[in-house]
């Protein structure tokens, strides 16, 4: 291999690497921000704390549930809930509940949730001392 070829190849290689860096550096926003890219699903739920009705929840997925102030549903008074406890996700016109490795666990109709599980109308979700009763799921598709 002669010198001219090596020299040209080196410059071309640097150009190719620059192209790769440029492409790989353009992180697609939707690839990381947010948790779910499924179509948003309308969720209406009632929130109970120690069996007392607290409030009505009306929102679109993804809904992050937890004690932290930046959650979509803040369980501020619930000391048994984790800061990021669980998430309601819309996925292919179905609603899913995902436990975010919470300390005290998430329960769907009394059964502990491992990973992600489908939620239907009338289901009851328990996190900490809070209970969510899913009143209505509005499918957009």
């Amino acid at each position: 291999m002669n010198d001219a070829l090596l020299r040209r190849g080196s410059v071309e290689l640097v150009a190719a690497l620059a192209l790769v860096a440029f492409v790989a550096g353009r992180v697609r926003k939707d690839a990381f921000v947010g948790s779910s890219t499924g179509p948003p699903i309308h969720v209406v739920a009632t929130m109970y704390s120690h069996a007392d009705r607290v409030r009505e929840i009306d929102g679109f997925t993804p809904l992050l549930l937890g004690r932290a102030h930046d959650c979509d549903v803040v369980l501020a008074a619930d000391s048994d809930a984790s800061r990021y406890h669980a998430r309601l996700e819309g996925d292919d016109s179905m609603l899913f509940l995902r436990d975010l490795e919470s300390t005290n666990g998430t329960f769907l109709n009394g059964t502990p949730v491992r990973g992600s599980i489908e939620v239907r109308d009338g289901d009851e979700i328990d996190l900490g001392v809070t209970r969510l009763r899913i009143e209505r799921i509005g499918r957009t598709v």
Binding site: L13, A21, F32, S116
Partner: protein, 423 residues
């Protein structure tokens, strides 16, 4: 579903591009310096298997393993040009790293369950230090290597990862409490920062006793950035900087080799044929490269002693030019940036801090060594991740990327492109 093919293609495309670029690089290498060809095919197959073997229904940032493979291929190309013998060893280490990264995959996928066990990482790193004290061998004035027959391993690289694990586990539990503590309350601060320092200071002390200032500085920087991310308390970062300044001052006055490094950094041409020889040759090498470089295999980076480990950035810069050097840094920046993007997207603090700490480790390590090579800081003997010759570093960095890649998993959902391809 008809989605299966696009999913596989999407997972594989970044890796295939990286492998194609690697193959192109290797075609410039000296004949028979890289090989045998079955070894390269095996490595390529493993790399493809690595990105394909991930849990179904999840989507990960597949650029991370691809960038790791691209950069390590670049490293093999550079090392092959400097020493074909070392390139053979580097390929074997690459094989070991890939196999370990693949086999650690299932463990990394369930890493969030380990948020509660934090002291196991301290114990693990102390075990490594113990092995180092018992079986360590001193090389270049620093006792860093465990030698087992033909295999030499530098456990500090793995300890580095253990410490990030510990910090992530501890800070994810106590970060909000530390954040609310008033800076002037000694008792409150001691309560929560105490265990943190207890878990972390021994590592630092032993590092200094082992004469590895570069790694100690790296760990302090990672520590400060994780602490800030978890608590947003700037006073703790400033405190960390003061600790580092004290350590540096102590090392400067008590360790002759640190003194040498600093005086070589300040006056590289005071003793150009003696102590300053290495860094003076590196500056000549950078100057010879100019903006566009001499071209691969047309420069003389082999004049720099120990070039494949510490000065690989100078070797690259000489033959591919200052522009090539900047592009290499750009690639590292992209890799770190994608890791930070993974951290930002995590809902739980443990995974967030873990991804952030790993990204910061990679970024700071790159900055510390390239800064040392170009004369921004005194040179410290840490490696340029993936590119430098050295199995310990290669292995640890592949595990690091595999971990962040596993963290980046999120449920694959009904998205536009998959609906378009299925209809």
């Amino acid at each position: 579903m008809t989605n299966a093919l696009p999913v596989i293609a999407r997972r594989l495309v970044p890796m295939l591009i990286a492998l194609a670029l690697d193959a192109w690089m290797f075609s410039f290498a000296p004949v028979h310096a890289i090989g045998p060809s079955w070894m390269l095919l095996l490595l390529a197959a493993l790399a493809c298997f690595w990105v394909l073997w991930q849990p179904a229904g999840m989507r990960r940032d597949d650029f991370l393993p691809a960038l790791a493979v691209l950069l390590s291929g670049l490293g093999v190309m550079l090392v092959a040009r400097l020493s074909p013998h070392l390139a053979q060893r580097q390929l074997v280490w690459l094989l070991v790293s890939l196999v370990l990264a693949i086999s650690a995959g299932p463990f990394f996928s369930t890493i969030r369950r380990l948020a509660a066990v934090k002291y196991i990482w301290v114990i693990l790193s102390l075990i490594f230090f113990g092995l180092l004290v018992l079986f360590g061998r001193e090389v270049n004035g620093a006792k860093l290597w465990i030698v087992l027959g033909p295999v030499r391993y530098e456990p500090v690289e793995i300890i580095k990862l253990c410490i990030v694990f510990f910090l992530a586990a501890y800070l994810s539990e106590t970060g909000d409490v530390i954040a609310m503590t008033r800076p002037w309350s000694i008792r409150e601060n001691a309560k929560y920062l105490g265990p943190l320092l207890l878990g972390w200071l021994p590592a630092l002390i032993i590092l200094i006793l082992q004469h590895d200032i570069g790694m100690a500085a790296l760990l302090l920087a990672v520590f400060a950035s994780m602490l800030y991310a978890a608590t947003r308390r700037i006073d703790l970062v400033l405190g960390g900087l003061c600790v580092f300044a004290l350590c540096a001052w102590f090392a400067l006055h008590h360790y002759g080799y640190v003194q040498t490094r600093v005086s070589v950094w300040l006056h590289p041409f005071a003793d150009p044929l003696g102590r300053g020889y290495q860094s003076a040759q590196a500056y000549f090498s950078l100057a010879a490269g100019g903006l566009f470089g001499t071209g691969y295999r047309l420069g003389h980076p082999e004049f720099i002693p120990n070039v494949a480990n510490d000065y690989v950035y100078a070797a690259f810069s000489e033959e591919f030019g200052a522009l090539g050097g900047l592009v290499l840094l750009w690639l590292f920046g992209v890799l770190a940036f994608r890791m930070f993007a993974v951290a930002v997207a995590q809902p739980d603090l443990f995974a967030k801090l873990l991804a952030l700490g790993m990204g910061a480790t990679l970024a700071f390590q790159t900055v510390v060594i390239t800064g040392g090579v170009v004369g921004l800081f005194p040179l410290t003997g840490i490696t340029l991740p993936f590119v430098s010759y050295g199995g310990s570093s290669l292995l640890a960095n592949f595990l690091l990327v595999a971990l962040v890649w596993a963290i980046s998993a999120r449920p694959m959902t009904w998205s536009r492109e998959s609906s378009a391809s299925s209809s």
